[in-house]
């Protein structure tokens, strides 16, 4: 049985005449990960700021674990961990000193604080660099410490605002493994990113925001259904496909489109799983596939389909 951890209800915020967030609503179930995506300036950061209590909404409410955020209750903030997009660290302090400060902000002290610092440094593979100044760290190490700082107080919800900007593939993978472990341990996550494959890898649910409004709020699988095609099947035949066979292929319910180039076919499929059935059908038609491959439509295509291809900044 799922339990709603976070409810964002009709949240609105404007800056002057610009409506940054317009009646945004979504919910997050406990233990799940929500991907929050949208073009630059779409309203993601403003929404995250209101969820964290950094900005006062003009209208609407954020309810976390049954308690409204921004009602002067500091207790509700203890349920949240924020990983800002910027590297919110003190370069002139060591990794451990940074964590001690951020832990103390949540009331941790003494042996409890030391234990939590040790655990989080271990989690992000920085235990051996605990005493080193952050200024000596690589970008990836700083990103990992940036995440550790948000986990010290054992939040119920971790909000990550583009946490992998500017890191190498190894560090990105390390971050993802950490986040997947946290997810398995039952931590709820909100993840904003421009990297669609990252969101797809983590998210149980994706909210797409554009121009301050929610334009999609679905599971990744459901989002793919918004596209006319889910995959493409590339086939090289032993001979050119006869015209009647081509017409029959195009008429199949699981095929969206067929492009013919001599012996080669590019078949747009409505579902990825339909590739095998199409190959069997071609064989039944006496056409022997010499080579074949499939490419799955990426979430980025979904994103571009939903938000358009026009530059936003």
């Amino acid at each position: 049985m799922t339990e709603t951890l976070l409810q964002v209800q009709q949240l609105s915020k404007s800056f002057g005449s610009r409506q940054a967030v317009d009646a945004v609503s979504f919910a997050l179930q406990r233990g799940q990960t929500l991907g929050l995506i949208g073009p630059n300036g779409a309203g993601k950061s403003t929404t995250v700021s209101m969820i964290c209590g950094l900005l006062r909404p003009d209208a609407g409410a954020v309810v976390l674990s049954g308690v409204a955020v921004g009602q002067g209750s500091s207790e509700v903030k203890r349920l949240l961990g924020l990983v800002p997009q910027e590297l919110a660290l003190f370069d002139d302090l060591s990794a451990r000193e940074n964590l001690r400060i951020f832990g103390a902000l949540y009331g941790l002290h003494g042996s409890a604080l030391k234990r939590r610092c040790d655990e989080e440094l271990e989690r992000v593979n920085l235990a051996d660099r605990a005493k080193d100044l952050v200024s000596t760290f690589s970008g990836g190490m700083k990103r990992r410490l940036n995440i550790a700082a948000a986990l010290l107080h054992d939040p119920q919800l971790l909000i990550l605002d583009e946490p992998t900007v500017g890191v190498d593939p190894q560090s990105r993978n390390a971050i993802f493994e950490s986040l997947e472990t946290l997810k398995r341990q039952g931590l709820s996550l909100i993840y904003t990113s421009h990297y669609m494959e990252e969101v797809e890898r983590l998210a149980d649910h994706i909210v797409v925001i554009d121009h301050g409004k929610v334009i999609a709020d679905e599971t990744p699988a459901a989002l793919y259904l918004r596209l006319p095609t889910a995959a493409a099947l590339h086939v090289e035949l032993d001979r050119a496909i006869p015209e009647p066979s081509r017409q029959l292929l195009e008429a199949r319910a699981d095929v969206a489109n067929v492009v013919v180039a001599v012996h080669r076919l590019e078949i747009a499929l409505r579902r990825n799983a339909d590739a095998l059935a199409v190959l069997e059908w071609l064989s039944a038609q006496g056409l022997r596939p010499l080579h074949f491959s499939t490419t799955q439509t990426r979430l980025e295509e979904v994103f571009l389909t939903l938000t358009g291809r026009t530059l936003r900044d």
């Binding site: 950094l54 500091s74 800002p84 997009q85 910027e86 002139d92 400060i101 951020f102 700082a149």
Partner: protein
């Protein structure tokens, strides 16, 4: 409480961690304070305040020698012997502020001119046009010496006998044509009698009386430096001024630090934590105030050990003013952060505003040098009260009662800046 202490500790650790900035923060006020203090009279032990002038004499008369001796003996001057060409050149190059050249025959000519019977000889006074105030002072001291020496010589010296005899002889010849000259002749005859009467041996002039029967300044001055402290110490004022200036710059940096924290996402992290904005700002104010107190203590420690600066007035008053100024510095930083936009633009504007504040506050040069209207107008500057307050408790040696007004003003400004900053932050961030 844990969060507040952690935030204060963090600011202090970061301040101490930047060794280069720390050394600059400690040394700059001391170095500039020492420099300005030296310019404004130092600790009063040395003769730094003396004006160095050149003296050149082309005349070998007794009168000229005595004038130069008198100038050299004057406590306001340090007179060095030069040739006329050297004197002119050194003033032209700015190595001396003024120089005096006594021409050949001055002794003879000045005696003749003393009773108005001959043309007045000229003494050349070279001066640096950037030091025009010195000209008036040197002319005054020169006049004093010339009048004393020439009159003494005329009334009682050997040269005076000759002048009187010559003048009487000249007047005898002219008296037939001009009856008015007869009165002058009679006067000189009286002077001659006075000279003869004064010739008795062993009649030395008592101090403060007419020297050798000549004319003298008819008064003496008794200078009293009006401070209750041991004596005026120019370093005490300059250390107060430079301390105030650089501590305010530290406060400004603390304010800019908040703007940088906003840019770096640290502010978001603080605001996302279960602490109020009052805790965040209060911690910054506390750490700034502690650093300000530390810097002020260091500045006065160095001043006390190396520059003889003493708290000649009320020690509690000094501590009270230091505390209030530290609080003012802290809230000034918060105010800068509250009204600031980008760190870069804010730093430029705030640095300009701070320099104006410390300049009008008398931190660079004492406020008594200002025109009267500016002395009154600059009282709106909290820095003026801080500098004057620290002066009052150090070299002026005033009691605790004199500390209350500056403390009240600094506290008032602190409350104003603190309230404005809190209101602005609360309005923008107080979700």
């Amino acid at each position: 409480m844990t969060a507040l202490i952690a935030l204060v500790r963090k600011d202090l650790v970061l301040f101490l961690a930047d060794r280069r900035a720390l050394v600059l923060a400690l040394l700059m006020p001391v170095m500039l304070g020492a420099f300005f203090g030296f310019l404004f009279g130092g600790s009063g032990r040395s003769d730094n305040s003396k004006i160095e002038i050149g003296v050149a004499s082309q005349d070998d008369s007794n009168i000229s020698r005595q004038i130069i001796s008198g100038l050299k003996a004057d406590s306001s001057l340090r007179a060095v012997d030069l040739t006329p060409d050297e004197a002119r050149e050194q003033v032209r190059k700015g190595k001396l502020t003024a120089a005096i050249v006594i021409p050949d025959g001055f002794g003879q000519a000045s005696g003749s001119a003393f009773f108005g019977t001959a043309a007045k000889p000229e003494i050349a006074v070279f001066y640096d046009p950037t030091q025009s105030a010195v000209l008036a002072m040197v002319k005054g001291l020169l006049t004093q010496q010339v009048m004393q020496v020439v009159s003494a010589e005329m009334f009682s010296g050997k040269q005076g006998f000759q002048f009187i005899d010559q003048s009487i002889a000249q007047l005898d010849q002219a008296a037939a044509a001009d009856p008015a000259r007869k009165e002058m002749r009679d006067f000189l005859q009286s002077v001659k009698k006075f000279q003869i009467g004064n010739q008795a041996p062993g009649q030395a002039a008592a101090p403060g009386t007419a020297q050798g029967g000549g004319l003298s300044v008819p008064f003496v001055t008794h200078e009293q430096a009006m401070s209750s402290g041991p004596k005026y110490n120019g370093y005490a004022h300059s250390f107060a001024g430079m301390g105030v200036q650089f501590i305010l710059f530290m406060g400004l940096d603390a304010g800019i630090g908040i703007l940088l924290a906003r840019r770096l996402g640290l502010w978001s992290r603080f605001r996302a934590a279960p602490i109020t904005i009052g805790t965040i700002l209060g911690a910054r104010a506390m750490s700034s105030a502690i650093i300000a107190l530390g810097l002020l203590a260091f500045v006065y420690l160095v001043g006390g050990v190396f520059f003889q600066i003493r708290i000649a007035g009320s020690v509690p008053g000094f501590i009270g003013i230091a505390l209030c100024f530290a609080l003012f510095t802290a809230t000034f930083g918060l105010f800068i952060a509250a009204i600031g936009t980008t760190p870069e633009a804010t730093r430029r504007l705030a640095t300009f505003a701070t320099l104006i504040m410390v300049m009008l506050g008398g931190a660079w040069v004492p406020a008594f040098i200002f025109p009267q209207w500016l002395q009154t107008a600059s009282l709106i500057m909290p820095t003026r009260w801080a500098v004057d307050g620290l002066d009052a408790m150090t070299w002026r040696g005033l009691p605790l009662a004199a500390a209350w007004p500056p403390m009240a003003v600094l506290l008032g400004f602190s409350l104003l800046f603190g309230a404005l900053a809190l209101w602005k932050f609360w309005r923008e961030d107080g979700a």
